[in-house]
C-alpha cells in the first residue's frame, strides 16, 4: 500500500489532523523499552503513518533516536509516496527548524514533501494573512494552510493528497544553503520574519492565563484544585462504571455457568476466570477515566505547567517535574502510571520514576486498607474532635507510600553513576498555547489505554489466576486448608511467624501476589465466610474476635503499602524497561523491604 508519513514538532496539532484524515480506525505500534508510539490509519488507498512529535532530527534520548531511525527507514521505503510535515502556523519560526530538517531528509531519498500550516483559523482570527505562494517558493515545496479543528481547508488538502497534485511540483531544495544547525535556525528565523504573524500577539493570551496559573499563590491553589478534581474522577466518577463492569461480568458468569452445571468446570469458570481475571477487568474503566482526565490536561496545555510547578520540590529527590503525573496516576493503578512515565525527558529519571511508582497506594490496596483499618480503628473516634481517625489512618498510609517512594528515589539517584548525567537533557519544557481539547484524539487515547492495559496484563493475570486456582482447588473436595495451597501455607508458616501471622494470613498473602485485593476474599474464605468482599465489617469483626495484636496489624498494613504484589505491574515494567531481571528484582526487593518493615512493626510495637 502507498504510504504517507506525517511528521512535525510537538504541539503542532498533528494528532488531530491524523484523526481527521483517517477516520475512526487506527493501529498503534509500540516499541518495547522505549516511548515510541507510531500510529497508522487508512485514507482511501493510502496508509497514513503518524510519527511522534519531534523537535529535531539531532537526537538526545534513546526514544528520539528510535523514532528518528524509524522515520529515516520509512522515508527510504519504496512504498512511501509523500512526507507531510505539519507546522504550527502561529509559531512558524520554531516549527520551521524541524520542517527544514525533515525536508532535507526527504530530498536525500528523492521523496516529495509538502508543508501543512495548521491552526490557520487562529492566524486569521488575529487578522494576519500568510503568503503561502511566497513561502512555497522559498521552501521549494507546496504549502497548504488548514485547521484540523475548524476543518478549514481540510477537504481541499485531502483532495490534493488523493489527486497527487503535489507531483506537479518537482522535488527541490529550499532557497538557502542548509548544512549547519546555525543555517537551519537562521533561515527559519528569516522566513518567520517575512511570513509569520507577530509573536507577541500569539503569546499574549497564554501569558495572561499563566499570570494566574503560574502565580506562586493563586497558581498553587489552582493546581491543588485541579488535582483534587483528578482524584475525584479516579475514585468517584469511575465507581459507577466499575460497578457496571462488575455487574456485566457477574451476569455473564451466571449466564455461562448455567450451561456447565455443577462441578469442576463451573468452579473453574467462576473462581479462576470470572473471579480472578474478572476482578482485574473492573479496573479498566478507572484507567480509562484517568487517561481521559490526564488527556484533557495535556491537550489543554496545563500538564506542562503542572510539571513546572512540581519540578523544584521533586528535584530534591532526584526526580523531574514530569514525574508528577505518573506518581499521581499510580494512585489509581501502577500500569498506566508506568506507561505515563514515558513523557519524562531524562532516561535515568524516567527509570527511577517507574521503579518507585508501585509504592503509590493503588486502588487495589483500598479493600485491604479498609479491612485492616476497620479492625484496629473504631469508626467513631475523632482526632481533635474533627478529623475521623479512620480517614486519618488512610491518609497516613497513602503518605507512607509516597514518602517511601521519595526516599528510594533519592537513594537511587545518588547511587547511580554520574557519567550518564553529562548527556542528559536538562529540564526544559515548552509551555504551549492553551487550547480547547478536541474529542477525537482524546477518544482514541482513552480507548487505546484500555486496550493496552488488557493486552499487557491479561495474559499474566490469566496464568497466575489459573495457577492459584489449581493449587487451591486440588485435591478434590478438600477444604482450602487441606488443598495444595493450604499445604504450602502450612509449609511456609515459619516464614510468616516472625511477622506474627499464622498460616491463614500466609495463604492470603500468597494468593494476593496475583492481585492485592484478593487478600480480603481469601481471608474471608479462610475465616469460613462467603462474600467477604461485600461484608468487610463482618470479616473485621471475625478478625477482632480472633485477636490480632496491634503491632502485627500495623506490620501487615505496612507490608501491603510496600510489597509489589501485582504480576501485571511487573509485566508492564518488563515491557517498558526491556529488562526482565530488573523487574523481577524489584518485585523481590520490595517484598523483602515489606517483610522487614512488618517484622519491625510486629517486634517493636
Amino acid at each position: 500500500m502507498k504510504k504517507i508519513l506525517l511528521v512535525g514538532k510537538p504541539n503542532c496539532g498533528k494528532s488531530l489532523l491524523f484523526n481527521q484524515l483517517t477516520g475512526l480506525r487506527q493501529k498503534v505500534a509500540n516499541y518495547p523499552g522505549v516511548t515510541v508510539e507510531i500510529k497508522s490509519g487508512r485514507m482511501a488507498e493510502y496508509e497514513i503513518i503518524d510519527f511522534p512529535g519531534t523537535y529535531s532530527l539531532n537526537t538526545l534520548s534513546i526514544d528520539e533516536k528510535v523514532a528518528v531511525e524509524q522515520l529515516t527507514s520509512r522515508v527510504k521505503d519504496e512504498e512511501t509516496e509523500l512526507v507531510v510535515c505539519v507546522l504550527d502556523a502561529t509559531r512558524l519560526e520554531r516549527s520551521l527548524v524541524f520542517a527544514l530538517q525533515a525536508q532535507q531528509l526527504a530530498i536525500k531519498e528523492n521523496k516529495q514533501i509538502v508543508f501543512v500550516l495548521n491552526f490557520i483559523d487562529e492566524v486569521k482570527r488575529f487578522g494576519h494573512n500568510i503568503d503561502l505562494d511566497g513561502l512555497s517558493r522559498e521552501l521549494g515545496a507546496p504549502v497548504y494552510a488548514l485547521s484540523a479543528r475548524s476543518l478549514d481547508g481540510i477537504a481541499e488538502f485531502k483532495d490534493a493528497l488523493l489527486t497527487a497534485e503535489y507531483k506537479n511540483f518537482p522535488v527541490q531544495a529550499p532557497r538557502a544553503p542548509l548544512e549547519t544547525t546555525k543555517q537551519f535556525v537562521d533561515f527559519s528565523r528569516s522566513l518567520a520574519k517575512t511570513y509569520a504573524m507577530n509573536k507577541d500577539v500569539v503569546l499574549r493570551n497564554q501569558n495572561r492565563v499563566d499570570t494566574f496559573l503560574l502565580n506562586s499563590f493563586l497558581g498553587g491553589f489552582a493546581f491543588l484544585a485541579i488535582m483534587f478534581v483528578l482524584f475525584q474522577s479516579i475514585f468517584t466518577w469511575a465507581t459507577p462504571l466499575m460497578d457496571g463492569v462488575e455487574t456485566i461480568i457477574a451476569s455473564f458468569a451466571g449466564f455461562v455457568t448455567q450451561f456447565t452445571g455443577e462441578g469442576v468446570v463451573t468452579d473453574f469458570l467462576n473462581d479462576a476466570i470470572f473471579g480472578g481475571v474478572g476482578s482485574f477487568l473492573v479496573f479498566v474503566p478507572q484507567i480509562m477515566v484517568l487517561t481521559f482526565v490526564i488527556g484533557l490536561l495535556e491537550d489543554s496545555g496545563y500538564l506542562a505547567r503542572a510539571a513546572l510547578i512540581c519540578h523544584k520540590p521533586l528535584s530534591y529527590f532526584g526526580l523531574s517535574g514530569r514525574s508528577f503525573i505518573p506518581y499521581l496516576s499510580g494512585h489509581a493503578c501502577a500500569i498506566p502510571a508506568i506507561m505515563a512515565a514515558r513523557t519524562i525527558e531524562s532516561p535515568r529519571k524516567r527509570l527511577i520514576t517507574m521503579l518507585t511508582i508501585p509504592l503509590m497506594s493503588c486502588s487495589a490496596r483500598l479493600p485491604v486498607y479498609a479491612l485492616l483499618v476497620s479492625v484496629f480503628i473504631p469508626s467513631d473516634q475523632y482526632f481533635l474532635g474533627f478529623f475521623n481517625m479512620q480517614g486519618l489512618t488512610f491518609f497516613g498510609l497513602y503518605m507512607f507510600g509516597i514518602v517511601t517512594a521519595l526516599i528510594i528515589s533519592a537513594l537511587l539517584s545518588h547511587s547511580k553513576s554520574t557519567e550518564q548525567e553529562q548527556s542528559e537533557m536538562p529540564f526544559i519544557i515548552e509551555l504551549p498555547s492553551y487550547r480547547l481539547p478536541h474529542w477525537k484524539p482524546l477518544y482514541h487515547r482513552v480507548i487505546n489505554s484500555g486496550q493496552q492495559f488488557i493486552k499487557r496484563a491479561a495474559p499474566v493475570i490469566f496464568m497466575v489466576a489459573v495457577g492459584i486456582w489449581v493449587l487451591g482447588y486440588f485435591p478434590l473436595n478438600a477444604s482450602l486448608e487441606e488443598s495444595w495451597l493450604g499445604s504450602i501455607g502450612h509449609f511456609i508458616e515459619p516464614v510468616f511467624a516472625p511477622l506474627g501471622l499464622d498460616w491463614r494470613y500466609g495463604i492470603a498473602i500468597l494468593m494476593s501476589f496475583l492481585a492485592r485485593e484478593v487478600f480480603v476474599g481469601a481471608l474471608g474464605t479462610l475465616y469460613g465466610m462467603e462474600g467477604a468482599d461485600e461484608n468487610i465489617a463482618g470479616l473485621a469483626q471475625n478478625i477482632m474476635n480472633d485477636g490480632l495484636p496491634l503491632g502485627t496489624g500495623i506490620g501487615l498494613l505496612l507490608f501491603y503499602v510496600v510489597a509489589l504484589q501485582c504480576v501485571a505491574t511487573v509485566a508492564t515494567l518488563k515491557a517498558e524497561t526491556g529488562n526482565a531481571k530488573l523487574s523481577w528484582g524489584l518485585y523481590a526487593a520490595y517484598g523483602i523491604l515489606a517483610y522487614i518493615l512488618a517484622f519491625l512493626a510486629n517486634t517493636f510495637i
Binding site: N58, L60, A196, L203, N207, H311, P426, F427
Partner: protein, 80 residues
Amino acid sequence: MTLWELNKGETANVSHLWEHLDDSVSTRLVEMGFETDQNITCLRRSVFAGPLVIQIGDCVYSLEQKIAEQIFISTQETIS
C-alpha cells in the same frame, strides 16, 4: 551574566552557551532558539529557586536553574 540572573520582565540577548555542554544538548538549545543575539525575555520567576519562564522567538520555555546557568546573556546596558 547568565540567564539565571535575569529578573522578571527584563530582556537580554543570548551571548553564548557554556562551552562544556554536551554537543547534543547545545545543538538542541540552538534549535530551540538559544542562539547568539536572539532576544530573550524573562516572563516569571518561581519561589524557592524553581524553574524560570522565558520567551525566546515565538516560544515560551521553562528552564531549571542548572541549565539556565549555562546560558550566557548580555543585557542592553552591558552592550551600550
